[in-house]
């Protein structure tokens, strides 16, 4: 008997709660919809990330191959005497200081 009354009470409470949900005002419903939309928009998009990651990997691989294939061979290491000579020559030091400029000049010389 007690259980029956409790069941009836719970059923009545549930009915009232569901009714209260159906009676939500328009503003609240609109805000809930907006919140839902924001959540959907915030969802991470796996495909977009995969595409971006794939492009980045491909670009990195291409750059690595280009460096390996076309980079000039490293000069043989200077001996102790050559290093001493380089350090003692002002011209050599200035050449290294202006290396960027010389490189630019070499590249643009043809067009000049």
């Amino acid at each position: 008997m007690t259980d029956d009354r409790e069941s009836r009470f719970i059923a009545a409470a549930k009915t009232e709660l569901e009714r209260s949900t159906q009676q939500l005002d328009e503003l609240t419903i609109a805000r809930l919809r907006a919140a839902r939309q924001r959540a959907i928009n915030a969802r991470p998009r796996r495909r977009a990330w995969l595409a971006a990651g794939g492009l980045a990997t491909a670009a990195l691989s291409a750059a690595l191959v280009a460096v390996l294939l076309f980079a000039p061979a490293a000069p043989p290491p200077a001996t102790g005497l050559e290093q001493l000579e380089l350090l003692s020559e002002n011209d050599g030091i200035e050449l290294y200081r202006d290396l960027e400029f010389y490189r630019w000049l070499a590249e643009h010389a043809d067009a000049a």
Partner: protein, 157 residues
């Protein structure tokens, strides 16, 4: 549910939005059958966080002497024996009385009752959502039903 817990529409909507965002950003890739339980877990956790923050704020205000009774979430908490919703509101509508009675329940009882009754979760799922043991859910739920029946016996004898 957040509305019952906070007693404030704006706060409730913020909590729900926060829970939705957390679900979508963290668990959007999970199977759709998991979304419901996960959402409830997140939502109940957010409600509990909100409640703890408010309680802390209330203590600080009390210490600083700037307490504001209107913003005190504890003011609505448990005193079921001293309050009768229809007396307090002068409203005999069962729905309004139920809302008031639910607002008067301690948070954990309120959560257990709403998850079991409204959401239709079983004890195990309710325990998962509330982050507590099944025994605790049974205790909270039983106390909630007892309190609510006492409060609402004029509406639903």
């Amino acid at each position: 549910m957040a509305q019952f817990a906070t007693g404030n529409r704006d706060e409730a909507l913020d909590i729900v939005q926060d829970a939705m965002l957390a679900l979508a950003s963290r668990y959007g890739k999970r199977g759709s059958d998991e979304w419901g339980p996960l959402f409830q877990r997140i939502l109940q956790s957010r409600i509990l966080d909100w409640y703890r923050r408010r309680r802390t704020q209330h203590r600080w205000r009390a210490w600083l002497g700037t307490d504001d009774d209107d913003e005190d979430p504890l003011a609505a908490l448990p005193d079921p024996d001293a309050r009768r919703p229809e007396e307090q509101l002068g409203n005999t509508r069962a729905g309004a009385a139920l809302e008031t009675a639910l607002g008067a329940l301690p948070l954990r009882q309120q959560q257990a009752f709403l998850l079991r009754t409204w959401e239709g979760l079983d004890v195990a799922a309710t325990a998962a959502a509330m982050g507590c043991s099944q025994g605790s859910v049974k205790t909270h739920y039983s106390r909630a039903v007892h309190s609510l029946r006492n409060l609402l016996e004029d509406h639903w004898p």
